[in-house]
């Protein structure tokens, strides 16, 4: 698992940390920030893609508690009808997912059942490659949102990752999203801005690669500027709240803020000030549990639950936030049957969660049958590219064929 989270397509940026900016930042208010806000169509939606690295056990996330086959296959690992947070008379959510259960009840969580791809690969990295490139059938260098970015003009600010490294899914053929770490170690750029500005200038007649190398300096300065502004805005807001002796968020979570939560906080700030970004990528690792899985998974799902439900509540309070659609996936689910060490091994199809004000809540697609297995594994019922195509079309206003090749599949009705 280690390998996946450390897989570095591109490296963390050294943007000045928020702490350094907090001091002099009160001069800015949220409302008068951001020239980039004007670049954006106010009606456009924003995609927040949440990657759970390591293969989250889908059957213990959306639990088929009423199915005897579920209890037979994993007696020690199974959740009982009394334990789950019920969604209907057949399935319920993991007990750790109380916040998401509330969202489901409020009609803002859609669960797409049995999502996968043909001839599943049980290798973490190959399966994650497949999910991130959206090309199950052949090796591919570009991520699906990277290809979207190529088509959308290539400005790295359009697709931002708050992970330590840029995930493959944001790498296009001609462009790539911006990687911005949540907590910089106050890492300052090794070069003065003056040097970067000089090197950013275009020269006529130079080779294409050389011109692109120069343009990277301009892109980097643009990303820096955007993030600095977001952090200044956040610092200003915090300062205002401090004056009012109010600390929103400080008690809402009770406990250490997970890395996912910190990433989503920054997304929320960006969305609220109306940056031009259309895609945010965040992630949480550690789902590669093979033993003593039940407790470990519950801890991780608890983190996911607190981070996501807090984020969605916050998003529901602003116009820009109500245009946010969150999608959560992992590279595969687990095998139906438990292994000998109270865990499950790498499996196949699992569920994708879609959340937001613009989402029509409910269960979508068909739950895989627990007794008609393919060599011990669930057979997928919805191709993951149907989900991507829907997100491209309805959230990013893009013809999915440009990104996925010809792909007619959609999830009808899930987005308003």
């Amino acid at each position: 698992m280690d390998i996946l989270t450390r897989r570095k397509f591109l490296i963390a940026s050294g943007v000045t940390g928020a702490g350094a900016l907090a001091a002099g930042a009160t001069a800015y208010g949220l409302s008068d920030l951001f020239d980039t806000a004007g670049d954006r169509d106010q009606d456009s939606r924003t995609l927040v893609l949440v990657t759970l690295y390591g293969g989250n056990d889908g059957l213990n996330t959306v639990v088929p508690y009423a199915d005897p086959a579920y209890h037979d296959a994993r007696p020690e690992l199974a959740y009982s009808a009394e334990e789950v947070k019920r969604l209907d008379d057949r399935v319920g959510l993991n007990p750790a997912l109380t916040g998401l259960h509330g969202l489901f009840t409020a009609g803002r969580l859609a669960i797409v059942r049995g999502v996968g791809y043909p001839t599943p690969d049980r290798s973490h990295f190959r399966s994650m490659d497949i999910w991130q490139t959206a090309r199950p059938d052949r090796p591919e260098h570009t991520g699906w949102l990277g290809r979207w970015l190529d088509g959308a003009g290539g400005d790295p600010r359009l697709a931002v990752s708050f992970e330590p490294t840029l995930p493959p899914l944001l790498a296009g053929a001609r462009s790539a999203g911006a990687a911005v770490p949540v907590t910089g170690r106050q890492a300052r750029r090794p070069f003065a801005d003056k040097t970067l500005a000089s090197l950013a200038a275009a020269e006529s007649g130079e080779p294409a690669g050389q011109a692109r190398a120069a343009a990277c300096f301009a892109d980097l300065r643009a990303v820096d500027k955007m993030i600095t502004e977001v952090r200044e805005a956040a610092a200003a807001e915090e300062a205002e709240n401090a004056d009012a002796e109010e600390q929103p968020g400080a008690t809402a979570t009770g406990g250490a803020r997970s890395s996912l939560q910190a990433q989503l906080d920054l997304v929320a700030q960006c969305v609220e000030v109306g940056v031009s970004s259309r895609v945010f990528s965040v992630s949480l690792g550690g789902f590669d549990t093979h033993a003593d899985e039940k407790q470990l998974q519950a801890v991780l799902l608890g983190q996911v639950d607190r981070a996501l439900s807090g984020f969605l509540d916050r998003m529901a309070r602003s116009d820009a936030g109500r245009k946010v659609v969150v999608a959560v996936y992992s590279e595969f689910g687990r095998r139906v049957r438990a292994n000998a060490s109270d865990g499950t091994d790498h499996g196949t199809a699992s569920d994708v969660f879609l959340m937001g004000t613009g989402v029509r809540g409910g269960l979508y697609g068909e739950a895989p049958n627990l007794t008609e297995l393919d060599d011990g594994d669930l057979r997928f019922t919805t191709d993951f590219r149907d989900v991507y195509a829907t997100l491209l079309e309805r959230v990013l206003d893009t013809d999915p064929d440009q990104v996925l090749g010809h792909w007619p599949g959609r999830l009808p009705g899930v987005l308003t």
Partner: protein, 435 residues
């Protein structure tokens, strides 16, 4: 009178990054003699001899009990990871130290071509074995290389050849063999993939001995029809069939042109006809084709090429860096998405502008600072010795850049008071990013 720009162009492409002294020597010797020396180096490679491959020892899993405890397994996994790091560190050091540079660059080319990753193979021993095969077979005809590769343990594990049996054929290796390694997409059918997989059945990797062995009872001895030919193909005869196809020659020549010539222009028609069927023959045809001279600046340096070249020019040996710096170096290489032994997929590494992102730029800037700080004192003294106004030109000579644009000259002139800053500035310049 030899055009210095022309020999510099040849050396930038045929080495992992030439030093000014190497360009000087090539200018003296002329293009033809330089090319001969690159393609068929004579004499002992002192740099390579000084950097022998590490003795990795046995696979840590080989010594475990039949049913190891979780702790034993974890310990063995840690040792495996350490062996893989050691091998990657060594290889980088070898690339910097080797005198026979084209030989070393070809090993790296074939590594990207047969893109096998230690992430799945999980054995430094087997990865080193594969590199040895590239070293032994990578310069000659294609057929011996393909025959060696279909029984290469690392490749077999990487593409599930291990699972490919008569009872349950696994098509992974056969498909990639034709699509990515020998023929190229469109030059075979799905039926060829199925039949090819049957030909490859029966090879098993024994991790304890680090060898692949043929297990007859797992092999499908029946007749197969592959690419229109019917016979009881096995791995060897299938490999020979593929290597003999005209598509294979054209495919490999195009791949070589793509990495040594240009990503933007198609390989010249003359390429296939001009070669004697060996890799070095194809390279000679590439480097001597009129089209090659027109490709200056058209390749974006791969991160490994960028860093190895910089270390050669700055007199830095990664093997002699402190452990902390060596780790930062390999972490930042990962930040630029190119760690030797870990290609992102069987498709190999990307090329061209895909390397040029804001994220990779940040890794490059940090590496440039690290390398400039580690530069040999003589290198910094050489820059300081030039009058301030002449330092950008001295830097261009050091880094084998033909000339700076006005933009970059402005940026570098502002850094000229501090040779270390100047050096780092040169390394991140757009001109140094391409070759």
């Amino acid at each position: 009178m030899v055009d210095r720009d022309a020999v510099a162009h040849l050396l930038r492409r045929a080495t992992l990054g030439p030093t000014a002294a190497e360009v000087d020597a090539a200018e003296r010797d002329g293009v033809a003699a330089t090319l001969d020396r690159l393609l068929a180096p004579t004499g002992r490679d002192a740099g390579a001899a000084a950097t022998p491959a590490p003795r990795l020892g046995a696979d840590p899993f080989a010594g475990l009990d039949k049913k190891p405890s979780r702790e034993q397994r974890q310990q063995a996994q840690r040792e495996r990871a350490a062996q893989a790091r050691r091998l990657a560190d060594w290889w980088l050091d070898r690339m910097v130290a080797a005198d026979h540079q084209l030989t070393e660059k070809l090993v790296f080319f074939w590594h990207g071509h047969w893109a096998t990753s230690v992430r799945k193979v999980k054995s430094a021993q087997l990865m080193l074995g594969q590199l040895d095969t590239f070293r032994a077979q990578g310069r000659g005809r294609f057929e011996p290389l393909v025959r060696a590769m279909v029984r290469d343990p690392a490749l077999i594990l990487w593409l599930d050849g291990q699972k490919n049996t008569r009872a349950a054929p696994n098509e992974n290796l056969a498909r990639e063999l034709m699509e990515l390694f020998t023929l190229g997409i469109g030059n075979y059918t799905e039926a060829d993939v199925k039949a090819g997989a049957r030909a490859l059945t029966g090879w098993q990797v024994d991790r304890d001995t680090a060898k692949a062995r043929f297990v007859p009872r797992r092999h499908d001895p029946g007749e197969k029809t592959i690419l229109g030919q019917t016979a009881a193909f096995d791995a060897d005869s299938y490999a020979r069939l593929l290597a003999a196809r005209p598509e294979a020659g054209a495919f490999v020549a195009a791949r070589l042109w793509f990495r040594f010539g240009s990503e933007d222009t198609a390989p010249p028609d003359s390429l296939a006809a001009a070669t004697d069927g060996t890799t070095t023959g194809t390279l000679r045809a590439i480097f001597t084709s009129p089209a090659f001279a027109q490709t200056r600046g058209q390749l974006v340096k791969q991160p490994v090429e960028w860093i190895v070249g910089a270390m050669r020019q700055l007199g830095v040996r990664p093997g002699r860096l402190a452990e902390k710096e060596r780790r930062e170096l390999s972490n930042r290489l990962a930040g630029m998405d190119q760690v030797p032994l870990r290609p992102p997929s069987v498709g190999g590494w990307p090329a061209g502008e895909a390397w040029l992102t804001t994220s990779s730029l940040q890794a490059r800037m940090r590496l440039a600072t690290l390398l400039a700080g580690a530069a040999a004192p003589a290198v910094l003294q050489g820059l300081s010795a030039a009058p301030r106004a002449g330092r950008p030109d001295a830097l261009a000579r050091l880094l084998v850049v033909d000339r700076w644009t006005a933009r970059t000259r402005t940026a570098l002139t502002a850094l000229a008071d501090n040779p270390e800053r100047l050096l780092a500035g040169g390394l991140i310049s757009p001109e140094y990013t391409v070759c």
